[in-house]
Symmetry: C2
Subunit: 383 residues, 2 copies
């Protein structure tokens, strides 16, 4: 049900003809009201795609009527012509819906540095506005896929109100290139400021802790729209908890479909002096190509874990750190503990537990291994 699980939303996924190999490539999600509350978070990459530059202006007043998303091209580093394409897309949808283009968010994903076919894009946008229905969420989720092998959707229901969402992104997440796009809808009654606070809290512990390959996209955007159609006004803490659940579900789906990956790795850091330290340590390990290649080879090479920890500024003493892999403590107090041979890394799920013995804070970073297929897919992406 994706983005149409919550009441007050319509959606469509259509074929605009932007993808080389055909298929659905344009999605539209319309907030039919009565509220038009919205919040969004964007890539922190300073090289921002045109749709990001546009959408950051649109979200400023917290009011959004619709979001249109295309695959088949990132519209990034495409200059003034590319920005005009984004603007024209918002104008086209605004015209069809009878609202200002300034209330239409735009997202794009695909290759950087190539112009989109504006005529095809606008024709697709008009078609989507006509074809949108209260059951269009599934098609919309398919239309935003690029190298994803399957659509990612999630729904969380509470007493009287619902949150639904769709996501795309296949590896290359920090949140990462090629690109992470997420649209979440709810029929709860919430003001833009409430949505913004909840969304920032939820992304901080979900998408921001997914680091498949350390590469940060120019196009990442996570959008939350509220229609208020349920008439229910949840407590902010209750809503945030539900939103965290949904975002973590989608983040795990993104991890599981990462390009070329053969292992889904959860790096759980405990005993940290504070949460920032735990995140820094987890992220350093998740960005070690040596560690990731070792996991691909089913090699419990804990030395590479400690070497990565050693590059951080986190509080720890190397000779107090414990490391377990899939339940076997291979390193205790910075030295060898159980034999490596006791560790079985053949399952797709890998759990690395790092105890820094420096405090009581903790965090978990999700990542993937570094595989032949990752190299292959990313050396051939443009073709």
């Amino acid at each position: 049900m994706s983005v149409t699980a919550a009441s007050g939303f319509t959606a469509a996924g259509v074929t605009a003809g932007l993808k080389t190999f055909g298929g659905l490539d344009l999605a539209l999600v319309v907030n039919e009201g009565p509220l038009r509350s919205a919040a969004a978070v964007f890539t922190s990459n300073r090289a921002k795609a045109n749709p990001i530059i546009w959408s950051q202006q649109v979200i400023a007043d917290g009011t959004v009527s619709a979001i249109v998303l295309n695959s088949g091209g990132a519209n990034c580093f495409t200059g003034a012509e590319g920005f005009q394409t984004t603007h024209a897309t918002a104008e086209a949808v605004g015209e069809d819906l009878g609202v200002s283009a300034g209330d239409i968010l735009v997202c794009s994903t695909g290759l950087i540095g190539e112009q989109l076919d504006r005529a095809k894009l606008l024709a697709g946008a008009h078609l989507a506005a006509v074809e949108r229905t209260a059951n269009g969420g599934a098609d919309a989720a398919r239309a935003i896929m690029t190298t994803d092998s399957k659509p990612k959707t999630a729904v969380v229901r509470r007493g009287g109100w619902t949150i639904g969402g769709m996501a795309k992104g296949a590896g290359m997440l920090a949140p990462g290139l090629a690109t992470m796009l997420v649209v979440i809808t709810t029929d709860a009654v919430l003001l833009p400021a409430q949505l913004d606070a909840a969304l920032r809290q939820a992304t901080r512990v979900s998408f921001d802790r997914l680091d498949s390959d350390g590469c940060m996209s120019t196009n990442d955007q996570v959008t939350l729209l509220a229609s208020g159609a349920s008439g229910e006004e949840p407590e902010p803490t209750e809503f945030t908890a539900a939103l965290v659940e949904l975002c973590q579900d989608l983040a795990r789906q993104l991890q599981a479909d990462a390009e070329g990956a053969s292992h889904d790795i959860a790096i759980e850091v405990v005993g940290a002096a504070d949460e920032d330290d735990a995140v820094e340590v987890g992220r350093a390990v998740s960005r070690s190509n040596l560690f990731k290649a070792a996991v691909f080879g089913n090699d419990p090479n804990w030395g590479r874990v400690l070497a990565a920890i050693g590059t951080t500024a986190a509080a720890f003493d190397p000779y107090e750190v414990d490391v377990s892999m899939n339940g076997v403590r291979v390193c205790a107090a910075g030295g060898p503990d159980r034999p490596r041979t006791e560790v079985d890394l053949r399952p797709r799920e890998v759990h690395v537990l790092i105890d820094l013995h420096a405090g009581s804070a903790h965090a978990t970073i999700l990542t993937n291994d570094l595989t032949h297929d990752y190299v292959h897919e990313n050396s051939a992406y443009a073709s």
Copy 2:
């Protein structure tokens, strides 16, 4: 000629039996004087191997009589037993040379988290002390190899004095894991403080700008020893210039032998506001797996270059940046310029020129592509 090109040095490379598959695995370089000046730089990884902890104490007084290096094990995360092994190695060599163990540097390279065979190591050290000659530099350079496909040596001669050096390390350099070890000798007359200043300046623009895979080793050490045997006292600037030349030569040899690499990439950043910005930008690009995989596939994907630049804090405007690859400007002012098809990335040497248009500083970072062979070699390293 390696470390015995300069007069006043003897060296040996012997088989101690530490390597699983046999071969030379222990090197000794002895400064026969008259001077015993020395300087060294060490990994900035906070998880330091036992030989690093030892050597940092030895170098404190600027006096070193010899350096002993073993492959076949990193002696890192091996606890008190491992430290005692390092200490015993220095004692053994000191005894043979009739000097204090406190004047003997130790380096180790190989797998982390496994104890070295102390008896074999000490027997090898004694053997090397006996077998050392003024022509032993070539054997010493072979004995420090791990996955290196060839020894790396360089010699620079000036009026009356000489600098010679050997290096090991095959990829995994930031300067990087598995490990970068460099020993440089000179017969010039120089004080420890002069050596230290020259060495820091030279490593800053050579080994510190080699970033093959972003992984930082627990064992990296670059050592410079001066015997004074030539009787010549070079000007500090002249000596530093010669040392820079030698270090850059060795750095390029390390890059060219990086594990599994099929391209040697020079990322030249010009038009930077200052040199730190130029280094930060070059390093960010050199650590983008997406960019490195694209080069492996001979794909001039300049969007991934700009996306990596966008993650830095350097001064630049994305819409003023130019990017050229192997002489073809594919991106001008943040937009498409010449067609990608004009770029030929088939040669092993790849030159990426980035003009930030933000000032007049510049720097070049050396890196490699991300290949199937890199993944293979690093997923099977422990075996």
